[in-house]
């Protein structure tokens, strides 16, 4: 069971949140100029680290806002919570 520290509401149970997957994926500025391989990589290829994973979460049953989380995928420990648009912190 995760206890996630929402930047606006404080620590809340995981059932209030939904996980939005890998963070920091930037939409290519000119999609029309991409090759099929580059577009496929953008749409489908994902990091799937055993260890620290940077991901997006949404506090859907609370403030409704999105934020980033650095979490260990083995211990499930939440290592850092930071705002959308911020660079991933060293953890």
């Amino acid at each position: 069971m995760l206890l996630i520290d929402c930047p606006w509401c404080g620590p809340r149970d995981e059932v209030e949140f939904s996980c939005g997957g890998e963070a920091h994926i930037v939409r290519p500025p000119e999609p029309a100029n991409l090759s099929d391989a580059e577009w496929g990589d953008y749409v489908f290829m994902r990091q799937n680290r055993k260890g620290v994973h940077y991901e997006r979460w949404c506090h859907g049953h609370g403030c409704g806002r999105w934020f980033n989380v650095a979490r260990d995928t083995v211990s499930h420990q939440v290592l850092a919570v930071y705002a959308m648009g911020e660079a991933p912190p060293e953890v």
Partner: protein, 416 residues
């Protein structure tokens, strides 16, 4: 390999069962093999078995970081079926189901395959339409399927609640009669014994820590028990596929999630079939020991922890008690999770990679057990011939660049 039979049983009974030979050896790894299989689950052991039996490649090692069948092979809910939507899926899953039907004889090992039928329930009009579409698609693809009304469902599975007053009423269901369950451990053990008997080395407690890749060609693997050379390496590592792909410099579209299951205390036979429901998310069958085997959903976030969260179990148990009111006072005995490798289109990846001699078989997600024999059969062909079998040709890694996905979320049964 000593053959199991009624006579062997009687002979050994007279010797008080003290002289049964070991079912497989525990050899030290050799310096080099003709082929290495990474992952000693059902799929990996089946691959080694068919490499030896069908393709005559017997100088093979199966490397397993823990013990064989200790990952998802020993953690699933043992359901076997082939009622997927698309022709490509019908091809591979029905190929597997046909192998299941003769597997105990093929392996001389009782895998306890029981064609007790699998029912998929519909709880709303849209789902009923989609399920009937799948029934028709199955029939066109030569896969047995039929549509049952709530009353016919009640007759087939008397403990199922079809009361129209339910929160999510049962509007009907699809039945595949050839589908059913099998003994999960026995599948791993049977393939291990069969492969070992043909000369395959099964090496447990041997974790792969890297690949030896030179000039775009795989030359071997690095392991916790030293370096082992081989011109061909097949990776069948389920939830850890992405970790191994990263070691080889490859990217996969896979995400690893925990998928949970639980079993009740044993009771007398009450459940004659397997019932699955996508909408309320629960599925249940009864093991030969009498335990009700219940499958839950995946946790939405990535994890390698082999344990799931309690809210997922709570949701599943609510659904099970609503669908089968008889279970409301049953005690649950054990709960666990396996790490499943989920692909964006809920179909597997079986084939070649950009590295010569390196093959991946992964992305089976929440439903790999049912495919074990078929997966091993076509993956052995892929490794032996260096090209995919016609059955697994659609399941390339390249489909995520070409766009020819095989979208099976509807038939995969576990919501993700």
């Amino acid at each position: 390999m000593a053959r199991y039979s009624i006579f062997a049983l009687a002979r050994n009974a007279l010797r008080r069962h003290r002289d049964w030979p070991l079912a497989w050896r525990s050899p030290e790894p050799k310096a080099a093999y003709d082929a290495i299989i990474v992952g000693g689950g059902g799929h990996g052991l089946a691959t080694a078995y068919y490499l030896a039996k069908r393709h005559g490649i017997t100088n093979v090692a199966v490397l397993e970081k823990g013990w064989i069948g200790g990952g998802n092979t020993g953690r699933n809910t043992t359901i076997v079926r082939s009622n997927y939507l698309h022709d490509e899926s019908a091809g591979i899953y029905d190929h597997a189901l046909k192998l299941w039907e003769g597997l105990s004889q093929e392996l001389n090992f009782n895998v306890m395959f029981s064609a007790r039928g699998v029912i998929n329930l519909a709880h709303d009009e849209h789902e009923a339409r989609e399920l009937r579409r799948r029934v028709f698609a199955n029939q066109l693809a030569g896969v047995d399927a039929e549509w049952l009304t709530p009353l016919q469902l009640k007759e087939f599975c008397p403990i199922l609640n079809v009361d129209p007053g339910m929160r999510y009423p049962v509007l009907g269901g699809a039945l595949q009669r050839r589908a059913g369950t099998a003994r999960h451990d026995a599948v791993a053990w049977g393939y291990a014994r069969g492969a070992d008997g043909r000369g395959v080395d099964i090496i447990q407690n041997c974790e792969v820590t890297g690949f030896d890749i030179r000039d775009g060609q795989v030359r071997g693997v690095r392991t916790t028990r030293g370096e082992i050379a081989a011109p061909k390496v097949g990776v069948v590592a389920a939830g850890h596929s992405s970790v191994l792909a990263e070691m080889a410099g490859l990217r996969l579209p896979i995400q690893s999630h925990p998928l949970q299951a639980l079993v009740s205390e044993p009771v007398k036979p009450v459940m004659p079939t397997v019932v699955m429901s996508n909408a309320v998310h629960a599925y249940m069958s009864q093991s030969d020991k009498g335990e009700l085997v219940i499958g839950a959903g995946i946790d939405s976030y990535n994890s390698y922890a082999q344990r799931g969260s309690l809210p997922v179990i709570e949701e599943t148990i609510q659904a099970v008690v609503e669908l089968f009111p008889i279970t409301s006072r049953l005690k649950m005995m054990r709960q666990w999770a396996g790490i499943v490798d989920v692909c964006p289109d809920a179909s597997p990846i079986i084939g070649l990679t950009p590295v010569e001699g390196l093959y991946f078989n992964c992305g089976w997600g929440t439903g790999g057990f049912k495919a074990t024999p078929g997966s091993g059969h076509v993956f052995a062909h892929t490794i032996a011939r260096d090209e995919p079998h016609a059955i697994n040709a659609p399941f390339t890694l390249d489909r995520f660049h070409s766009g020819t996905l095989v979208a099976e979320h509807g038939a995969a049964a576990v919501a993700h």
